[in-house]
Symmetry: C2
Subunit: 358 residues, 2 copies
């Protein structure tokens, strides 16, 4: 089964529940990113201490290594990882964006040609390929293959990417509907594009939400545009999506952005930032601001990262100890800071949900 | 309290119990190594899944970073790490050996001068310094500062290192007895040297065991000599140590070596090998032989590393999954293989203990 209901609203903000084949997700929700089918630097046992509800994996990376055939042979992502909470896979669309920026990706209406950073091989992925790969990976929620333009792209380029995104979205929905290999109740979310241009966002929302889909995403946000543009576009676009379907704002993960987006009516978030900055020694303080653990002021600070934080790290270790581990290049420092940062964002959305419900 | 009793013997092999201020250690025991006050790639939460009884930290590394003053200020290693099982610290003596090999260490009867690999600074450690540092670190068991010659050293050089080891051992015992900063019941173990020469081992054992100490170690084993020499020397030296005190064979960690050493009457072992090879992708199979996870034959092997193994990794993941993580350079692969390898050696000594007791 896949379904969604809004339990309560506070202005535009919503507290809801997504029913998936692997359990209920209480929204708003932050989804940790497990690019290569693991959260970086964390085992699933460690991830569980953060109480995530759903995690995200990357289709492009798994297609390259180990290949979707192997994961399909294992019985899909849940059996492959032995992690039985809901999974979401992105479509590879974001890699079109990030590789385009580097001049490494050729795009036409058929699909996108990538160059593997590691072995230099060329890969071609069409919208149909992306869906078939995601069918085989077997996540609970999968995403349409989209063309995400750079945040600084001009109107014409943004409009062209939107046109292609719509063309591809239709083909993705059709491929998914006709798939004989997809797990039952696998949900496909198409993605609204349109950059920083409101008329394009409106046109895209209108087209994308006309497709038969159980949820919708806003893509092309936080890809180079200004902070004011991000806020403005999210605020403008979120209400254009149906009230009775989950709304996913892709790739957003700072406290400030999440709080504003929830106020705009967004239900789902993901971002690699909290674990990436953790591995580089940064942690969220009580206000959600980034602090650097290597700072000399923590040298003999025997308090936890954040007083009262429930995370494994704060319950067990001091800033002075984690600082030492980071300074002597122990990977455990990154693991400890990752658990803290993920717990921080997971608790942030939980707390906002409680506020909406009360 | 610190005490030891032999519960049962089977030929020379012993099953015993060491009482320490942080709990009882059932022997024979394998001690995981936490060089920088963490097991590499594992949190203490993960280490606990391996059921260790005691862990080892390195005085030399902690003296350099973060410095024993900070750990003392935190309340000693147990509070510093929030790990409340017994700790053992080595003395820095092994670093005399490994840096000597590189021509980076000057030794005379006063002590040893090291060069820090990281910042190039010179450090001087005397036997008295080593004990004072270890008093401040506050482990349950600490080691005398010794001069460990290379396994290939000639008779004269080995004898000279033994003479110095004896001189230093007396000074260590005296410093420890007069220490006003040591935790109560902190046990100091002096170390027998003598290389591959039986007359020197005999002389060393005689001198070292004449010192007033609650346990004794055999050092200078597996430092370049042949496998036959290792076996011969351990078999020769172990029975020269008192029956009623724990016997610690330093730096030994392969299945074969452990099994033989227990048969010779050894009670305690440590080695970095199981976690070091784990981070390089090797794991112990059911026979204790090393296998490489990257091997193509594990590509679609959905079985655990070892069928029936109780470790976190084998209980949760397949060879195919761990292989994928290792191939895409996820540090989690090293964490998973480390848990398996430590569990393997911990269970190995437990099993041998059970056999002795029955």
């Amino acid at each position: 089964m896949f379904s969604f209901k809004v339990l309560k609203k506070k202005n535009q903000a919503r507290a809801g529940e997504i029913q998936t084949p692997h359990g209920i997700i209480k929204t708003p929700v932050f989804m940790p990113v497990a690019t290569q089918s693991t959260i970086k630097a964390l085992t699933f046992g460690q991830l569980e201490t953060c109480s995530p509800q759903i995690i995200l994996s990357n289709t492009y990376h798994l297609h390259l290594r180990p290949g979707e055939a192997l994961i399909h042979q294992a019985g899909g992502l849940h059996k492959w990882t032995n992690y039985h909470k809901p999974f979401l896979t992105d479509s590879g669309g974001f890699q079109v964006f990030s590789q385009s920026r580097l001049g490494k990706c050729k795009i036409n209406d058929n699909g996108a040609e990538f160059i593997d950073n590691i072995d230099g091989k060329k890969y071609f992925i069409s919208p149909e390929d992306s869906i078939t790969i995601q069918n085989k990976l077997g996540a609970d929620i999968i995403m349409a293959f989209d063309h995400c333009p750079d945040g600084g792209a001009n109107y014409e380029a943004t409009k062209e990417a939107m046109r292609r995104t719509h063309l591809w979205a239709e083909r993705c929905v059709s491929t998914h509907q006709n798939s004989t290999i997809k797990p039952s109740h696998q949900a496909l979310f198409p993605i609204v594009q349109g950059g920083i241009f409101k008329d394009l966002r409106e046109e895209s929302a209108k087209f994308i939400t006309s497709l038969d889909a159980p949820g919708f995403a806003i893509g092309g946000v936080s890809v180079g545009e200004s902070r004011d543009d991000i806020d403005e576009i999210v605020k403008f676009t979120a209400p254009l999506l149906p009230e009775d379907k989950p709304r996913y704002l892709m790739g957003i993960g700072t406290k400030e952005d999440i709080v504003k987006a929830i106020e705009a009516g967004i239900d789902m978030f993901d971002c690699v930032m909290p674990t990436r900055i953790a591995r580089h020694g940064a942690f969220f303080d009580a206000n959600g601001d980034k602090q650097l653990i290597k700072s000399a002021r923590y040298q003999n600070d025997f308090n936890p990262l954040v007083e009262g934080c429930r995370c494994y790290t704060c319950q067990n270790h001091s800033k002075a100890y984690v600082r030492h581990l980071f300074r002597v290049h122990e990977s455990v420092a990154g693991s400890l800071l990752s658990m803290h940062n993920l717990t921080y964002l997971i608790d942030l959305t939980d707390k906002i949900r409680d506020e909406i419900l009360q």
